[in-house]
Amino acid sequence: MSQAAVEFQQVTKNYGSGNVLENFNLVIPKEKIVTIIGPSGCGKTTLLKMINRLIEPEAGSVLLGQQDIGELNPVELRRSIGYVIQQIGLFPHMTVEQNISIVPRLKGEKKEHLVARTAELLQLIGLEPEQYRGRYPHELSGGQQQRIGVARALAANPSIILMDEPFSALDPISRVQLQKELIKLNEQVRKTIVFVTHDIDEALKIADIVVLLKGGQVIQQGSPKELLERPAHEFVREFLGQERFQLAYSI
């Protein structure tokens, strides 16, 4: 019955300088691209990293499906969740193929299977397998590198992918292209994508659901259209920017 991919229940996180999140509740629906936005320090990256237990909450629980992730082995948990970071983080001493297949290899999958899987993923992200599988990360452009980063996150076929400002270090042209590709990609692969960004245009463009945070609280959660048409709070208007609302009305 439950359509929640991830659920935060009464989560509190404290970094010593006050609570970043306090009794925080959020339901992230399945198979949607969910973007998390908000002013810096609002807890969006903290929230993301709690899903794969790179950060542990002080109180409350994070559920994956029905399972409390606090009860799962963190290493196993991370292997079952895709992860894409801003600095891309491809391993420079490994080929594209080795980078993409790292998680299945950690899980001990067979080699024949990996070769086929890599080819499939390269095709999916629009890079010719024969041409790219043997290359090293430094031989690729930034946009290509982050495509490989996305492929690596998809390799073990996780149902959830976490993306921490994945496109913000790219040049504007690659960024726009990767945003488009991500939307198309998810029409095919149907993953739950949790996407943290500080780029409001990006957040509105790629999202099925936008979550706007401020001071560790959800200000509004809804489709981009809902946020623009029915802002729940003056802050929504303020943060998204007045001109976006005028634009939305004019359409």
Partner: protein, 219 residues
Amino acid sequence: MHQLWTTFQASWEVLLEKTQEHIYLSLVSVVLACLIAIPLGIYLSTHRRLANSVITTVSVIQTIPSLALFGFMIPLLGIGPKPAIFALTLYALMPILQNTYVGINGVNPALIEAGKGLGMTRWQLLWIVQLPIARVVIMAGVRLVAVQTISMATIATYIAAGGLGDIITNGMSMMDTPTILLGAIPVSLLVILINILLLQLNRWLTPKGLSDEKTSGQH
């Protein structure tokens, strides 16, 4: 030149024996130093506070003049190859320790974050990411140590540890140049040879993606 040749003909068996002793002293010391300093460096890279005091302590050893260090060995361990190996190993620790520590810590934090986030255990992170990337730096330390140890093993003759230093000091006491050269030339050749060999080995071991590095994990 002619004298050197006759000396060589007369005592090539001794030369061979002393060369073997010399290689034995150096090799055992370098291997021991690697076995101690590399794991220690890895350990210290995750215990930074401890790292400072340990590295400072080990670097003090480096400041003791080599002849003095061999001298200290006599009251402590007596004479012969064993105390010599002990002293040479102590001397070899610092460069390997420091390079391991710096190499592992120099790995780009984004790679650690990625590795962790993808589900690597602490050990996998070390073997799959940190060590391969730090290997170039660690091996540079090992090469430095190999060269330094072969040179220094020449002095081990003063505590009766054998090696090519025996021939050199023997020649010196007799004021016999050909004998001095009979020890000095092979030891110099040995150092040069090992240096070239290890340089090649490093080049060969360097992962392809790091060899013409632009975006590598090192600073």
